[in-house]
């Protein structure tokens, strides 16, 4: 299987001396949903921001579909989609204007975008709200608009930081279905979450990060065995103290 995402010896130290990520290594294959879990401040967001190219880093290498994030950032970004944990999107645009903007940037043709926007907006109950300014959306609606924008060009790698925060149960259910559908088409998904039950049900593979280092990784069965992911997480994190 070809790797969509390869992180090799990624290390990031901030200006104040804090080492947020230490020799992080992981690989995500096509068709995989990869969960990335850890405490607050463990290094999840740092790793994610580096791999999507919004943050510079000094050590290591990150490849997306074979392209280096440092040397070929545009090539990498053209095949991925990213949503941060608190997606502040353009409040001066309407939902539809934002989606059109994303579709234009990613080169989605008129007919295709029309079909996909209609499909995802209906799925997430946003059809009647796309004509309103994003500034008037609730947090959950902004999250949904950002998600539609990310799925619009069917990225090879979808990177999500805490995607289920702010979503109502129905929307969470539908987003999971969208993620599975995307993976069935050959894309990969890499997401961080604090909701371990979701990660357990959804993910093929998982990595646990603590204080910048990966302390456990592998398939869900390899990592959790017969226990729940929550039990394994607490045990592994406690053991590393």
């Amino acid at each position: 299987m070809s790797a969509v995402l390869e992180i090799k010896h990624f290390t990031k130290t901030y200006g104040n001396g804090k080492c947020a990520a230490k020799d992080v290594n992981l690989t995500v294959q096509k068709g995989e949903i990869y969960g990335f879990i850890g405490h607050n401040g463990a290094g999840k967001t740092t790793t994610i921001r580096a791999l999507v190219g919004v943050m510079d880093f000094e050590e290591g290498e990150i490849l997306i579909a074979g392209h280096s994030v440092k040397k070929e950032p545009v090539a990498c970004k053209s095949v991925l989609a990213y949503i941060p944990d608190n997606p502040d999107i353009y409040e001066f645009l309407t939902g539809m204007q934002y989606l059109d903007y994303m579709a234009d940037i990613y080169g989605v043709d008129t007919e295709t975008r029309k079909q996909r926007i209609h499909k995802y907006a209906e799925l997430l109950g946003m059809s009647k709200d796309l004509g309103n300014l994003i500034g008037n959306y609730s947090h959950g609606m902004k999250q949904k608009a950002a998600l539609i924008g990310a799925f619009l060009h069917e990225p090879k790698l979808l990177v999500l930081d805490e995607p289920f925060v702010g979503l109502d149960p129905e929307a969470s259910f539908r987003v999971k279905a969208m993620m599975q559908e995307l993976c069935e088409k050959g894309s990969a998904i890499f997401f961080s979450t604090h909701v371990l039950e979701v990660a357990e049900k959804l993910c093929h593979k998982v990595a646990i990060i603590k204080e910048g280092s990966i302390i456990a990784s592998g398939t869900m069965e390899q990592v959790k065995g017969d226990s729940s992911l929550e039990e394994v997480f607490l045990e592994v994190v406690e053991h590393e103290k």
Partner: protein, 525 residues
């Protein structure tokens, strides 16, 4: 109660100024930048105070010192009305932090007092900058006494009250009315522009032509201010020798207006804010997807929408262009002889062709849209950093926005000035070429400055558009770079063409350098 108001007021003042000044910045680079910005702001303040004093001295020189108090009070009040009006949208009603503030254990009137207080603080600043130096000159000429000192203190403290209240009332009305409309921001922007242009035309129509007429301007403004709102007559009663009664009435009326305004706003604060919020969310309709376009066009259209969505951004960055258009139409409407008479400079028409290109250059380069455009990405900057678009394309779209505003305006104004002044040959070429070069310079330089000095952590657009280092440096450079050759041309008119061309060359050279640096810039969050 007092503590709560002062706490809320402190937050509001911090919001109006710049939270960065109040943050603990252990980063030496950031601290240095902040100090530079502060130094620049202080310098600007001093320059404005000097200008105000100089203007007052002009009236003293022509023997019309008596008009200074009322005229300066009127001028400060009008200026404050416009400034407060431009900021009024969201100041009292429709503000983003309404929910958060009103969920605290405070009363509505406490929140209202804090908000009005912050704007009053800005008004006080305006009066200190413009009124105080002029009155210092007046006092030095007429002789300072206890009554005059008392008048100055009263005007400083109470002068901002009425203009602030009037502007807030008007702005609030616009917010409430336009919140029912589909294109709220666009209509608000048009209304703001109408008020601003109307103000400029009105003050411009008062221009005289010689010393006698110049003196009459002061009296005209004084009389007009007296009719517009009588309190301005009351406030200067001691300085105009009419006793203490007027100024006491000024204090009483200002206090009553402030009290009544605060009471009314407090009574309707929660209901109106709830109505505004619900009206904005009420529109639900299905819309169609757009047609596919290139990434550059998508970026450009986004920039256009950004500009039109913010009256503060639009007004602050297009003021030079608006003035230029106004000047162009004005010279068509006024005869050449009247222009010479108005300026009091016979023969100026002959020399105008020499400095016109640089005059246009000054107006077109003082306020580029690019200077705050990167900062305005704010919390949404993760979008531009994660998109599969080279940073230079993003910069080019922002630069294209500024050029698409300035170049057509330059064409229109240039044609107007050409029709009036009829430059020949090379001067015609320079009339268009020189300002275009400066427009390119200000667009690219503004972009470069914003890349060097981004300000993403704003909580109100004003902080990015008005109070940021990139905007300050861009405005200063946009003024100084054409002003220096402009003054040189006035001194050496025979060399006008060469000086103008050299200035344009320098502007283009700087633009090229900045453009090269931008090409290699990488954008990170």
């Amino acid at each position: 109660m007092k503590n709560k108001i002062s706490l809320l007021l402190k937050i509001q003042i911090m919001r109006v100024l710049n939270p960065a000044f109040f943050r603990d910045n252990s980063d030496k680079k950031k601290k240095r930048r902040l100090l530079l910005t502060l130094a620049g702001a202080v310098l600007l303040g001093m320059l404005l105070m000097f200008y105000s004093g100089l203007m007052a001295y002009g009236y003293v020189k022509i023997g019309e010192a008596a008009v200074i108090p009322r005229m300066m009070l009127g001028t400060c009040s009008l200026l404050l009305i416009v400034l407060t009006f431009l900021k009024s949208g969201g100041a009292l009603f429709g503000s983003r932090d309404f929910d958060m503030v009103m969920s605290l254990p405070i009363k509505a009137y406490q929140a209202v007092i804090a908000r009005i207080g912050a704007l009053y603080f800005v008004g006080l600043f305006v009066f200190v900058i413009f009124f105080l130096p002029a009155m210092a000159v007046y006092g030095a000429h007429e002789g300072m006494n206890g009554g005059m000192v008392f008048s100055i203190v009263v005007v400083l403290l109470f002068g901002p009250v009425l203009p602030t209240a009037c502007a807030l009332a008007l702005g609030t009305l616009i917010v409430v009315i336009t919140s029912r409309m589909r294109h709220t921001q666009l209509i608000s922007l048009i209304l703001y522009m109408v008020v601003f242009l109307g103000f400029m035309v009105w003050t411009g129509s008062l221009s005289g032509s010689d010393e006698t007429k110049l003196a009459e301007i002061g009296i005209l403004i004084s009389d007009m201010m007296g009719r517009l709102y009588p309190p301005s007559v009351w406030a200067v009663s001691i300085t105009e020798g009419r006793g203490i009664g007027g100024i006491l009435m000024f204090i009483v009326v200002s206090s009553i207006v402030l009290g009544v305004f605060t009471a009314i706003v407090s009574a309707f604060y929660v209901p109106i804010n709830s109505t505004v919020a619900s009206l904005r969310r009420r529109q639900t309709k299905r819309v169609r997807t757009g047609r596919a376009k290139s990434p550059f066009r998508a970026l450009y259209h986004k920039e256009v929408r950004r500009l039109l969505s913010s009256s503060i951004y639009a007004m602050n960055t297009t003021v030079g262009v608006l003035l230029m258009l106004l000047a162009g139409f004005a010279v068509l409407a006024v005869s050449p002889a009247s222009i010479e008479k108005a300026l009091g400079m016979p023969g100026i028409m002959q020399a105008a062709n020499g400095f016109l290109p640089l005059l246009l250059a000054i107006m077109v380069s003082i306020s580029p849209t690019t200077a705050p455009s990167l900062s305005l990405e704010g919390k949404s900057r993760w979008i531009m950093c994660s998109l599969p678009v080279e940073p230079r394309k993003i910069f080019e779209a922002k630069i294209a926005l500024n050029l698409s505003i300035t170049l057509p305006a330059l064409l229109v104004s240039g044609i107007c000035f050409w029709v009036r002044f009829r430059p020949q040959g090379l001067q015609t070429l320079l009339l268009f070429f020189v300002p275009v070069c400066y427009s390119i310079f200000s667009s690219v330089f503004g972009m470069y400055m914003n890349v060097k000095f981004p300000k993403y952590d704003w909580t109100h657009e004003q902080q990015a558009v008005k109070n940021s280092t990139s905007v300050f440096i861009s405005v200063m450079a946009g003024m100084l770079l054409p002003i220096i050759p402009f003054m040189t041309v006035l001194r050496f008119p025979a060399w006008a063409n060469l000086i103008s061309a050299a200035g344009a060359g320098a502007a283009l050279g700087i633009a090229l350098y900045c453009g090269q640096r931008l090409r290699h810039t990488v954008l990170y969050e």
